[in-house]
């Protein structure tokens, strides 16, 4: 069974971009459109990993990540940020996020981040 990744981003463009990268690498992809959607879908889908955008309406990525991690301490989450949101990244690390990738996405970096996060 293929490894399942849930992509969380309110921008359709970013979801489609990331989906394309991940599917080409053989991953199965699910999508959520904001933080609340991510929390709801995590319970149903139980993905192997999550890529989570930080800035979203209706619950941001940090809040969603915190909730998911509190319900599932083993949850594998990778944060997605636009350049230089460093203080947010620091907060994310405290929550137990495994890695972060910066927009615009570099396909190789995305894959290596996902592979690395799944191994840990």
């Amino acid at each position: 069974m293929a490894t399942k990744i849930m992509i969380v981003d309110d921008a359709a463009f970013m979801r489609i971009t990331l989906k394309s990268i991940l599917q080409k690498a053989g991953y199965e992809v699910e999508e959520a459109v904001d933080g609340q959607d991510a929390v709801d879908k995590y319970r149903k889908i139980k993905p192997d990993a999550v890529t989570m955008d930080i800035t979203m309406p209706n619950k941001d990525g940090l809040e969603a990540a915190t909730e998911i991690r509190s319900q599932n301490p083993d949850a594998v989450i990778i944060m997605c940020t636009a350049l230089g949101q460093e203080n947010l990244i620091r907060k994310a690390v405290q929550i137990g996020v495994k890695d972060f990738i910066v927009k615009p996405f570099d396909p190789e970096r995305v894959i290596s981040a996902v592979q690395g996060a799944l191994k840990k």
Binding site: F13, P57, L83, D106
Partner: protein, 205 residues
């Protein structure tokens, strides 16, 4: 037209430098997003009075595509990307090369792509400004608008008009002539943000 005194002229030069540095990061990001070797530079920063901002480079009564980023953090105002419809369509076509093609400016998915571009490039500039001045600045949710230039500018200038008479224009040059992509960036700080930025840039030199 720069009417500030000598110490402020130096501060404006620092502002220009910060935008130039931001443009380097933005150039990298754009090259990655568009998969092209394009050039993106800032050639100057100027203060422009309100009545000129409304038809700055773009006629007041021409529809333009804009990405408007609200400034969040320790300051208020907007960062605005302005381009003609043709350019927006080209940008969109390029961004969507690997996915569904759409050349309709007002199509929801095309707007998503252009908004993300604005978000990423805007972050490059605001991060640079924030780092160089010590003032926390980041972009809010990007908004896409397609309407008459002056109509949108008026709305953006309302907040500023309460505290000043001028806006900052960042002269950007994006070189991709064969594909016809071109856009301008307007930086509209309000409520004393500009003065605080200039002060911060000078202190942190």
């Amino acid at each position: 037209m720069n009417t500030r005194g000598p110490e402020n002229r130096e501060a404006m030069a620092n502002l220009q430098k910060a935008f130039e540095q931001g443009a380097q990061g933005a150039q990298d990001a754009l090259r990655k997003m568009m998969k092209r070797d394009l050039e993106f530079t800032v050639s100057g920063v100027q203060e422009v009075p309100f009545d000129q901002v409304c038809n700055f480079r773009y006629p007041a009564d021409v529809p333009v595509a804009m990405i408007v980023l609200r400034l969040l953090g320790a300051g208020e105002g907007y960062l605005v990307f302005v381009m003609f419809e043709e350019s927006a369509k080209k940008v969109n076509q390029i961004l969507w090369e690997e996915g569904p093609k759409s050349s309709e400016v007002l199509n929801l998915s095309s707007i998503s792509a252009i908004k993300e571009m604005g978000n990423i490039v805007g972050s490059c500039f605001l991060n640079r400004l924030a780092d160089s001045s010590g003032i926390e600045l980041r972009p809010g949710e990007p908004m896409f608008v397609y309407d008459l230039m002056e109509a949108v500018m008026e709305a953006l200038l309302i907040e500023q008009s309460l505290s000043s008479d001028r806006a900052i224009i960042v002269d950007t040059i994006i070189k991709n002539p064969q594909e016809g992509i071109s856009f301008d960036i307007l930086f509209l700080p309000s409520g004393g943000l500009l003065d605080r930025l200039l002060e911060g840039l000078t202190q942190h030199e």
